[in-house]
Symmetry: C2
Amino acid sequence: MSTVDPRLSINQATIKYADLATALRVTADAGVQSIGLWREPVNEVGLDTATKMLADSGLRFSSHCRGGFFTLPAGLERDAALGDNRRAIDETAALADAGADGSTAVLVLVAGGLPEGSRDLIGARERVRDALGELVPYAQGAGVTLAIEPLHPMFGSDRCVVSTLGQALDLASDFDAATVGAAVDTFHIWWDPQVYEQIARAGREGRIATYQVCDWATPLPADVLLSRHYMGDGVIDFASLTRAVIETGYDRDIEVEIFNQQIWDTDPADVVARTAAAFAETVAPHLP
Amino acid sequence: MSTVDPRLSINQATIKYADLATALRVTADAGVQSIGLWREPVNEVGLDTATKMLADSGLRFSSHCRGGFFTLPAGLERDAALGDNRRAIDETAALADAGADGSTAVLVLVAGGLPEGSRDLIGARERVRDALGELVPYAQGAGVTLAIEPLHPMFGSDRCVVSTLGQALDLASDFDAATVGAAVDTFHIWWDPQVYEQIARAGREGRIATYQVCDWATPLPADVLLSRHYMGDGVIDFASLTRAVIETGYDRDIEVEIFNQQIWDTDPADVVARTAAAFAETVAPHLP
């Protein structure tokens, strides 16, 4: 257990097929202190039960995944999405309350892709800004930070029209930094020629809501969504990226979030152990 | 024939399985006035024969593909790559001489990916700059423009460490604009939140060496290299991108370059006809 870094947090997507009870158990049993949750497994047991289970686990809560899907034009579907985001904000606040000391009320937002048949990328991006504007007062009231997550540009049309950290920070800049920040996820931003200057800027502006790590490797699998790897199994330089994040003063948990069919097909306790080892080797040496 | 825009150029990769003779014939027969060539089919017949064939076709020559592969550390392999680039420069100059009036001596450069086992993205990018420095005097002597092509970030580790137009322009900025420019390819840059400002900058700096078009659609195929589509079959807004390029004063040929297995498996004459129709519908309306 002594090799498990205290700042490591297991994002539940890394052990996707584990239900909430299993995810909490294998994470705590491995000596990991923190977990990031996803809405589906939380809602499977209901929020009240989930908060009790989280409290009983003794784990910190580092983030909730995920809200967003903001690119729809005005209408019922968009209204429903905004309502669902308010519920996600409530869940985030409740889970952060239930988690151990040092928990953070961070809701990760994935903006959404182009609406079916649309080529209006600029319009879609403006609707993201509008949706943030509608949610911010509610998030502020709940004490929740919305973390805009830029996704790799290969997801730019179908999943997320926010493609760079700089763009996420531009979107966030209309709002208070305590309520709107950005998710800094190595997988999505490692390639960006501006990545170091934008991480420094995010720090200066107080906008690093969460730092998430996993690796990039090629060839990409047939489903590119599942192309995330254990740190060290790809090409990302975790030394320089982690140091850049730490230099901004970021002092909270660091999540490992991996979508990978082979990893999902592995026993979750083994996955958590392997994740902790990879973290100890690639990220922990660059922490203060 | 009246529907074929005079500025359309067929990049030979769009009809990959056609040899040089076939590519020239189907392009000219369709009433297309210009072609972009690839090194392999040119070298299959030899440069002298290729220049004669091109001259006989009456077509303009719009670009040569491709040089680059600049990210190797110092050594024999890098020296060989630089030597090969000098041959590509010679080919480009000869082909531009042989093409009809209005031909342009443009060599498209794909920088190359991270060397095997390396995570040093910054170092790889610096080696691209160094390699350009070594080739520029030779290109200048030959009257050839090197077009740095930013590739979509999904190719950032294995094919091209130059991922944005802004980064390509930063690399180019050390050199004379007549000798080093950038390739503006819609497929690679459509997602970039800075795309319009960087196209305008490229124009101001005299660096748009070639404008290439094709479309982006999802889901991506298993081999993401082959995910290019006819214009109109995806999500790219050719109206705004083409107008942005034209507003800079760009007045040369516009190439269609599509890597797509299904298109490659189609009769090349049909592909050229379909390409001309897609160009007439999506790009030509935005030309002066």
